[in-house]
Each structure stands twice: as structure tokens, then as C-alpha cells.
Amino acid sequence: MILAQTTPALPDNTGYVAAAYLVFFAIVLIYVVIMASKLSRFERELTELNELAEQGARAPSEPAPAREAEEEAARR
């Protein structure tokens, strides 16, 4: 490649250069947006799983009142 000694005579193709860099940054940006949407989906799923885990933790304590009711019914 030959380096320019003077720049004023060179063709001005700023628009093409800007377009090429815009393509590159747009691709990266689209990718980041897709990753962000995936991340928010994971967050939603984690919240749902957290609720499921809490329900599961509460479940073993529930039979106790039921057992008491059964015992009372048997006593009657």
C-alpha cells in the first residue's frame, strides 16, 4: 500500500465508511439485544421456579391441620 503525502486530493467516501461501521455495530447491537431478551426470560423463569420451590417447601406442613381434622372427626 502507498501512503498519501497530501490528503486534500483523496476521494471523500465518508458515507461508505460510515455505512460499513454501522453494519458492524448494528450486528453487535442486535446480538446484545437478543442476549438481553434471553436474560430477561431466564429471570422470569427463575422467579417462577422460586415460587414453585416455595410452594414445595410449604406443602409438607399442610397435612398437619388435615390430620387434626381427621382425628377430631374420629373422636366424634
Binding site: 502507498i2 501512503l3 498519501a4 465518508t14 461508505y16 453494519v23 458492524f24 450486528i27 431466564f42
Partner: protein, 245 residues
Amino acid sequence: MLYGTRLRALSIATCAVLTAGLALAFFYAPMDADQGFMQKIFYVHVPMAIVALCGFVWGGINAIQHLRTRDAKYDLRSYVAIHLSLILGVGVLLTGSIWARSSWGHWWVWDEPTLVSFLIVFLLYATYQPLRFSIEDREKQARYASVFAIVAGAFVPLNFLAVRLAQAYTHPRVFATADGGLPAKMQLPFYLCLFGMALLYITLWRYEMASKNTSAKLRSLRRKLGGDEVVAPVGRSAAPSLPSP
């Protein structure tokens, strides 16, 4: 392996190196006498092309590992590598077309070996996802996709060599042999941009791997907590499925 570890540091390093590389390309590297300012496209187009081609080869290497070990993680690695290289490939074709239009006055030149060979490689890999999707059985899908990735991965350097040996040189040579290559003041920005692009590829690859692994772990957790009925069955997909951790 936890793909999400040190992702923050890697992302920061990628941004820093790419910014430095592009800043040097615009403010330190001299103007090219033939092409002037439009030669600046070179600093994004060429690194993207090199990294995309290396990514295809990396996909092939992981496919070899998959066939050797039958470990699904290598199939996933190969899939993600090829997927990312295809995305970069779109960028290479678009930026290349813009450069060709500004430099040669045409969006595409069919008798230029470098352009056509890259298009052939790109179109070859564009069939990778449909190939995977066409095979329903997951194990067969992974095996056939690995064979494809190896054969196509071997084709990439052969193709590159064939183009280097070609006689017609319309497309500029970056690492030229006879009549001078890249001037020293252009080398530093170029190599920095190349390094930055490689870092970008690695970062995105690790993000994608972390995302796929997290998805598999969430699925397994959902099954453990709610049983099989709360987990929607996996439909036909081109993406590999990881076994439950």
C-alpha cells in the same frame, strides 16, 4: 465448565481493545494514497473475515472432539462457533460489498476469487442449520453435524490457500508477498483490531454458551421441582440439547 465466569472482565477487555484499535485506525494510521478515507473499512472488514474463518475451523475442531468423546458439550461448542461465524460472515459480506462499491464501483465482482470463495464458504455453512433441523433424532443430528463441521472446517484453509495461489489479484493482499504488504503505521491498528475482533468473538461465544447452559440447568431444575408435566417437551430444533446436569 462455567462459561459465565470472568465474562465481565472479558467484555470490558473486548470493548477497550476494539475501541483502541478503531481509534488508532482513524487517528493514527495514515491515509491510503489509492483509496483515501474509504480504506478505513479495511480495519473492520478484514479482522471480521479472519475471525469468521477461524471460527469455522474452531467449530470443526470441536466437532472432532465430539466424535471422539461423544460428549454433547463439544457439539454445542461447535454449533455456537459456527453460528457466530455465520453472523460475522454476514458482516463480512455486507462491509465487503460496501467497500467494493466505493472502491471499484460495483457491489459485487464475480471474477474476484477472494470474494467468491468467501461466498462459497458462507453458503456452505448456511446449510449447517437446515441440515441439523432436518434430522429429528438428536444423537444422529449431532453426529452428522459434526461430520459436516469437520469436512467444511478442513475446506476453509484449503480454500484460503487456493485463493492465495490464484493469479488474478484484484482484491488487495493484506500480508502481501512481493510488492510490499501493510505499512508499519497501519500494522499496529490492524493487529489491535484483529485482536479486538477475536476477543469479541470469544466473548459472544461464551455468552451464548453460558445462555445455553443456563437454559439447560433451568429446565432440569424445573423438572426436579415440578415433575415432568411442568416441563414443555422439546420440539424439533437445530440447536443441540444438553443432557440434564
